[in-house]
Symmetry: C2
Subunit: 218 residues, 2 copies
């Protein structure tokens, strides 16, 4: 069965804003923040892995996974496989991203799970994993009866959108939190080049989410 709907005029904006956010998070961490490292005496390099995994691995992947049925010209089975795989990539990136955040906090002697960013993020990752597992069991293997699937689909879509929007909100919260810390520590100048880049990354992520919505809506 081919895709139910062909790609609409807004489809192009999903990869476009996805690329914009990807480039911005890389320029930020590599050019402004000194690069990435899993092990380093400079804990900031460990931290940098967190936004890279979350923006590229989690947000951009899961956004594309959501619109696969609308923009990938392929058979239904292939679309489902790509949907499942992209969400798995996002989930794994998200889990490693959370691990890196804890590692950074522990090695820096900071308290963790205290801010709304961490609460939103942790809830998002847990719900994301649960949603993926349930969807795998019901829609892929072993798979439920057609009648059950049809009843579950609207809930799968609704829960998926809520989780995606929570992920977007968590990302914006993380961006604001980190930038506030850096500005307060005088490591970044308010309205400086880096501050604007980071805020525009937040705007790109918002536009990415709106593009995903437009793709589903059209």
């Amino acid at each position: 069965m081919p895709a139910k709907y062909g790609p609409g005029p807004w489809s192009i904006f999903v990869p476009l804003f996805g690329i914009a956010a990807t480039v911005m998070v890389l320029v930020w961490t590599l050019k402004f923040r000194g690069g990435l490292a899993f092990r380093s005496r400079n804990q900031e390099l460990i931290f940098n892995v967190h936004p890279v995994l979350m923006v590229i691995g989690f947000i951009v992947s899961s956004g594309h996974a959501i619109v696969v049925f609308k923009i990938l010209p392929a058979r239904r089975k292939a679309q489902k496989a790509v949907h499942l795989l992209l969400h798995l990539v996002a989930l794994l990136a998200g889990v490693v991203g959370v691990y890196v955040a804890f590692k950074f906090k522990r090695e820096s002697g900071l308290k963790d799970m205290s801010s709304l960013h961490s609460w939103f993020g942790m809830a998002t990752i847990c719900l994301y994993g649960l949603q993926w597992l349930l969807a795998f069991l019901f829609f892929w293997f072993p798979g439920a009866a057609m009648y059950t699937r049809a009843r579950i689909v609207p809930w799968h879509v609704f829960a998926g959108l809520v989780i995606f929007l929570m992920a977007i909100c968590a990302a914006e919260l993380g961006i604001l939190e980190k930038l506030t810390f850096l500005e307060r520590a005088k490591a970044v100048r308010i309205f400086g080049e880096e501050a604007l880049l980071v805020n525009f990354m937040g705007i790109a992520i918002l536009f990415f989410a709106i593009a995903v919505g437009l793709c589903l809506f059209l």
Copy 2:
């Protein structure tokens, strides 16, 4: 014409989480932060008006305005009037809320419009005003032809939901920003009573948004 759909089983959660957020923002500003004032030597009292207007006036009002068609047992015309009025209350509260934020910043000698919270908030208010004005002209007075209205409705709903979700995101960003400032200034203890109250207010606002979504979805 009566309401197209009667209230679903989730309708009760919209006022419930609305009340929860309202109580929390009042307890926070009145009990923990010293109260409210439009004019005071203590600029923090001026600031406090901002979250109160934004949470109760803007978020809670606009969320209820969105679900009016689903939960208010009345004729279509009456539902529309309440929808319009609640959104107007939200818009006015939002505009005054923004004014108060600028007043606080100016009187405290702080830079404004530098954070993602202010960017999201300003964009939300501007789009909200535009959406209200266009909807008033097309759906109320003078009103467009039925054919045009039918074509516009899906865009009105989509734009309205995007703006509502931006408002939710702006609120969460504001909560995190203010709490981070207070914690850094040692005015609030991390994991202390007040910090937990403020974060739970953020969770109540998230649940309020999910309840609005469930109301529309069911």
